[in-house]
């Protein structure tokens, strides 16, 4: 068995005839956190959906824990890889514990009831994500940060080897961003989860991930350590914007900032005058 828990080999995926990502090759090892960056619409979500077989695989191979995903049943796929979706819709009337227990679904047969062991696993997942105090409350009352932690708890209840997160910090305040990513990183290190997370915030991606993969125009643009991937050149190429990159004052990782572009602002002003 390879040491990589998740491995894409020349993966090409798309919807129907339309190919979204071509020839993507990447690997995530146990205990490693890989960040997926790229502009809106570059295919970050599609890649995550592809790994869970929600998007047709046109070519290449996807391996999970050494096995090709096409050989896995729905249930064993869901026991191996868990997804924390972006803005997950949660049924308002269900309680937090009921939602986390849904994570046990792939472990239960149709005629089986949840056992004390299933409850214990859900309980531990909620303990790890600090959602235990919410167990009896209906998820309709939850804040964005609480919902995100709850989704992570549900993913943990699946007892996966690989955790996929789709923009886990979108719409969260800075305190919840840090809280969520600290949790993910701790789980990654402590439980040996292989984590693949899509980010729209380059700085968070650089701070929290061991390696980054930048995707653009239907394929991988660069991959490597954060300082190798996040450069003024690559960002201009992929995002089409000029940025300033400096070492982070604490750990020297790349820190990306933008400043108003005087020329473009003037251009816009002129256009506004005309209208």
């Amino acid at each position: 068995m390879s040491e990589f828990q998740l491995r894409l080999e020349g993966m090409t995926i798309g919807y129907g005839e339309r190919v979204v990502l071509r020839n993507v090759t990447l690997e995530v090892a146990s205990g490693e956190m890989l960040g997926l960056i790229g502009p809106n619409g570059s295919g970050k979500t599609t890649l995550i959906r592809g790994i869970t077989r929600l998007v047709a695989l046109h070519g290449g191979k996807i391996f999970l824990v050494g096995r090709e995903i096409r050989q896995l049943s729905r249930e064993s796929l869901a026991r191996t890889v868990a997804v924390v979706p972006q803005n997950a819709s949660l049924p308002e009337l269900f309680t937090a514990l009921e939602v986390v227990m849904m994570g046990r679904t792939p472990h239960l047969g149709r005629f089986h009831h949840e056992s004390a062991r299933d409850f214990a696993i859900a309980w531990q997942a909620m303990e790890a994500t600090d959602t235990l105090g919410l167990a009896e409350r209906r998820v309709g009352e939850f804040s964005g940060g609480e919902r995100q932690r709850l989704c992570i708890a549900r993913a943990l209840a699946q007892e996966p080897k690989v955790l996929l997160l789709d923009e886990p910090t979108v719409h969260l305040d800075i305190n919840h961003q840090a809280e969520t990513l600290d949790l993910v990183r701790a789980l990654c290190r402590n439980r040996g989860l292989a984590v693949l997370a899509a980010f729209h915030d380059l700085n968070l991606a650089a701070q929290y991930c061991d390696r980054l993969v930048m995707i653009a125009s239907g394929g991988v643009h660069t991959q490597g350590r954060p300082e190798e991937v996040i450069t003024t050149a690559s960002i201009r190429e992929v995002y089409g914007v000029d940025v300033h990159i400096q070492p982070h004052p604490v750990n020297g990782l790349p820190l990306v900032t933008v400043t108003p572009d005087g020329r473009k602002v003037e251009e816009r002003e002129r256009m506004l005058w005309k209208t």
């Binding site: 997804v83 009337l93 679904t105 062991r117 859900a122 309980w123």
Partner: protein, 362 residues
């Protein structure tokens, strides 16, 4: 991989406490509603144009039980209870059960609180089948009226089959397309039915009475036909309670949790349509049961389908028996359409529940 052992027995016990309490409450509710249903069936056979004293009623029922020597009750009374009233009561119970469970299923499947068993064309198809049946030349012979339920059943199933075929995209069935196709085809079929009603002449009364829903022509043969559909259907749907819970997240999350979403949709749609069509074929379109009963149950006992489905089945049966009993007694000797009663008594009760809870209901 680290095995998660249940070493923390304290933790397990805490879970028992917080979680099993609501569960236990729902299990008690099931037992309570089952007893209520038995009581409603029993008492509903006493009420009617001939009021039967409870003592005689009890004797009559006891005499039917094996191994019990009860005082004989007059055969006239026996006929009223067991050949006239009981089949009607049971049919109303089965139909109420079918509509409530189908309603809960559709609401869960479509994740839409407005869904009712008639959302995707069953009722309009069945009504057209029945109306067309009444207008057939052979219907001049009253003996042919037995054909009406067959036509209504075929109409209901046929309409949903067409909606399904239209809404299907490749191997998937987008729920919104399904609802829109159902609404559109329903309107189309309803317009034909309206036309048939306009030209129906002396058969108008039969058609209208069928559409409004009634149990006045119930007999044991009908119970024997409807019961297997409803009981088997409710049993199959109940097996899908947990997938239905998971599908409340959304289809994508459900798939990522290992649920075969398309198969669940197909099975539940098929079975819910089947039990709805079998229910309306004899008794017509009885509105409101499928929407009010599941919501009332959800308001009181929560959204978990493992409880919602059986509780709705029991509550729906009791509700429709009570409504039908009211329909045949309130304006006796004339009968009211039972659909009038379900809405007239059901709606205020439902509004009361909504008011009392004052929070999100779905």
């Amino acid at each position: 991989m680290k095995a998660v052992s249940v070493k923390q027995t304290d933790t397990v016990r805490q879970v028992d406490l917080v979680l099993y309490l609501p569960w236990r409450r729902r299990v008690y509710a099931m037992a309570g509603l089952a007893i209520l249903l038995a009581l409603v069936v029993f008492l509903a056979t006493a009420v009617g144009s001939t009021q039967i004293p409870l003592g005689d009623l009890a004797k009559a029922w006891l005499s039917r039980l094996p191994f019990i020597e009860a005082a004989e009750v007059s055969t006239a009374l026996q006929t009223i209870i067991f050949d006239i009233r009981l089949p009607r009561v049971l049919l109303a119970g089965l139909v109420g059960m079918a509509l409530a469970v189908a309603g809960a299923t559709y609401q869960g499947l479509f994740r839409n609180p407005l869904a009712d068993p008639y959302l995707i064309g069953v009722s309009q198809g069945a009504a057209l089948g029945a109306a067309a049946g009444f207008l057939l030349p052979v219907m001049a012979d009253a003996a042919m009226l037995g054909l009406i339920p067959v036509l209504a059943f075929a109409g209901g199933i046929g309409a949903v089959a067409v909606v399904y075929a239209i809404a299907r995209v490749g191997k998937t069935l987008p729920v919104t397309t399904l609802i829109l196709a159902g609404v559109a085809l329903g309107a189309f079929l309803a317009s034909i039915t309206s036309y048939l009603i306009v030209i129906s002449g002396d058969r108008l009364h039969g058609i209208i009475a069928w559409i409004l829903g009634r149990f006045s022509v119930s007999n044991w043969a009908q119970v024997a036909i409807v019961a297997p559909y409803v009981i088997a259907g409710v049993a199959v749907i109940s097996l899908y309670a947990r997938p239905l819970n998971v599908m409340q997240l959304d289809e994508e999350q459900a798939q990522q949790l290992g649920i075969n979403v398309e198969r669940v949709k197909l099975v539940l749609l098929g079975v819910a349509t089947l039990i709805t069509a079998s229910a309306v074929s004899f008794c017509g379109i009885i509105g409101f049961v499928g929407i009010i009963v599941p919501h009332a149950v959800r308001l009181v006992w929560g959204p978990d389908h493992r409880f919602l489905l059986p509780l709705s089945a029991l509550a729906g049966a009791s509700f429709l028996i009570l409504a039908d009993t009211a329909a045949r007694t309130l304006t006796a000797p004339a009968e009211m359409p039972v659909g009038v009663i379900t809405a007239f008594l059901g709606a205020p009760f439902f509004l009361y529940l909504l008011r009392r809870k004052k929070k999100a209901v779905f």
